[in-house]
Amino acid sequence: MTVIVASFWVLVKFVAFVAVTTAIAVPLYHTVLVATEGGGSGRRLSAFLWRAGFWAIVVVIVLVSVFPFYYAILSSLESGTALFRVNYLPEAFDLSNYRQVLTTSSFLHSIWNSVLIATITVVAALTLAVTASYALARVRFRGRGLLLMTILAVSMFPQIAVLSGLYELVNWLGLYNTPWALVLSYTIFTLPFTVWVLTTFMRDLPVEIEEAAIVDGASPWVIITRVFMPLLWPALVTTGLLAFIGAWNEFLFALTFTISENQRTVPVAIALFSGASVQEIPWGPIMAASVVVTLPLIALVLVFQRKIVAGLTAGGVKG
């Protein structure tokens, strides 16, 4: 009992500490920002100090965000003893880690598995979601609110809650250790997510277009495929991309439903990467593999930056 009270007390102290620090730091910091933006009213020196403070904050944010990935790239280009000497600037350009990773057949299998599984999952989810979200966004029927609430709730499910039941199902269907087990299980989070986001997008399409189509005698199916689909392309790309990232990164199901090296997806392969001995973790190849699977993601996210931010805030969804 005393242990519980004591440990709870630690938490309370932590929260109190954070609250007090915030109460002081955030407004102060906001002051800095507002003062800076105002173009520096008042004396020159204080204006300069405000500016310097602001840029210092910006530099810290950028450095902290980018440094770990920079360091992963830097480490992936070093091998042998160079890897175990800490250096902050690039010193070597040794591609042997990449050569090793990209000639390991199980890792190539993993990349292929991940691409295949994520693509099929996303296409399937979008296909089911387009018609469903039309019904949810555009047609009034009883129980619509309840249905949407259920879908939202499912997307926030803890995956572990379905794990043993799903394990049983996957075995029963004979899908254990195949990509289809993952396609099936990833539907749990990609489908509710795509339905929810597409519903919010579809709701914002102008009513007049649909009314015009109805006057012309178009059936709901024609309205979706001929009228709405062309307008929905941007939304489909955004939603599909976010769902793809979700499926690409998934770990729990992939770890549970695969057993052989060649069936693993990329996250599982990286997590279980092993060296010649148990003691020796192959950091160089792990970093190279990490860079290989992350660079395309970062490129995609940066290219579709604006759309992704819009999609995330529209859905208020998983990060």
């Binding site: 954070v18 407004p27 009213s41 018609t131 049983e168 993601l297």
Partner: protein, 324 residues
């Protein structure tokens, strides 16, 4: 959609509304069948299994028996008359996992909210290179969790890690620390990585709220000579509070079920094992399906409460009728 042209309605044999409702049913059916199959059924099965004695030998052939509440709590009288309590609810290992989950969730979400607010305030200011900063902030979010866990695992390495090197050079520590291995620092390591990875998401959600504060409001306050500190408390914070609340509960839901980061960064550490991890280990590694299912069902119940809270507090606009 409330006013369909009357002409159309007259032309249709059955009413247009009826026709649309029928179409809606067929549009929804495939999705609902799919969700019932992959989500509802496995969930019910997991809960069912939590009342069974299913083990690795019996789970797939159905030879298990009912165990009632025994997996949750069971009183076993000993020969001498005293009672031995068994089950998840009296298992110190489970309560350790619960405590770790709560500790992790509260600390990570608190830190992420504050840092997210700070980053959002910067991104909301107008300055040259803002697009570049925003792109940089998105990088941690774009990196898969497993990759971040490995990257930070390397940076936090006790012998060759760059974090220890930095701290040593700054004379903040005298000896390298085995961050991920030591029970007292493992949670710190997990928090560092989680905060690093998730703050961008928080910042983006809060930024969306901040951008709804009209810019001339600040201008007006400045011209009136109101201290920026007061502006923050009186204008900015009340306006972004709803956005922050929704983001916080959303993150909390995610934090309560955390699995991958902890499983990869600090494997088998008593100091960080969470409810999801302990349940996974029982199910997948020890073949204790019944016990693992009981644990996952408890976690499900806890998260269900938070989901209801999210929908209620966030006043989630379900049907899109009426403003937020």
């Amino acid at each position: 959609m409330s006013s369909h042209p009357a002409a159309v309605q007259a032309r249709a044999g059955i009413s247009l509304q009826q026709q649309r409702a029928r179409a809606a049913f067929w549009f929804l059916a495939p999705m609902l069948v799919m969700l019932a199959f992959v989500a509802a059924w496995p969930l019910l099965r997991s809960i069912t299994l939590s009342f069974s004695n299913a083990s690795a030998d019996t789970i797939f052939n159905g030879n298990w028996d009912w165990a009632g509440w025994k997996n949750y709590v069971e009183a076993r009288p000993r020969a001498d008359g005293s009672i031995r309590w068994r089950g998840v609810l009296v298992d110190p290992k489970w309560w350790n996992a619960v405590w770790n989950t709560v500790r992790f969730s509260v600390m990570s979400v608190a830190l992420e909210t504050i840092l997210g607010l700070l980053v959002a305030l910067v991104l909301n200011a107008e300055f040259r290179g803002r697009a570049l900063v925003r792109a940089a902030v998105l990088v941690p979010w774009a990196i898969p969790t497993i990759v971040s866990a490995k990257m930070w695992g390397w940076m936090l390495n006790d012998q060759y890690g760059i974090i220890n090197d930095m701290l040593l050079q700054l004379h903040l520590i005298a000896q390298p620390i085995a961050w991920t291995a030591r029970p007292d620092t493992a949670m710190i390591a997990v928090l560092i990585v989680d905060v690093w990875k998730t703050t961008p998401f928080m910042a983006l959600l809060i930024l969306a709220g901040l951008q709804m504060v009209p810019r001339d409001m600040y201008e007006a306050a400045r011209l009136d000579g109101i201290h920026p500190m007061r502006v923050f408390w009186r204008v900015t914070l009340p306006l972004v509070r709803p956005a922050i609340m929704v983001a916080v509960i959303f993150r909390l839901l995610d934090a309560l079920r955390i699995f991958d980061l902890i499983y990869v960064l600090t494997p088998r550490s008593e100091g960080t094992i969470t409810m999801s991890v302990i349940s996974f280990q029982n199910i997948r590694e020890f073949g204790k399906y019944a016990e693992g299912s009981a644990q996952s069902s408890i976690l499900f119940l806890i998260i269900a409460v938070f989901v209801v809270l999210y929908i209620w507090v966030g006043k989630v606009n379900l049907t899109g009728e009426g403003g937020r």
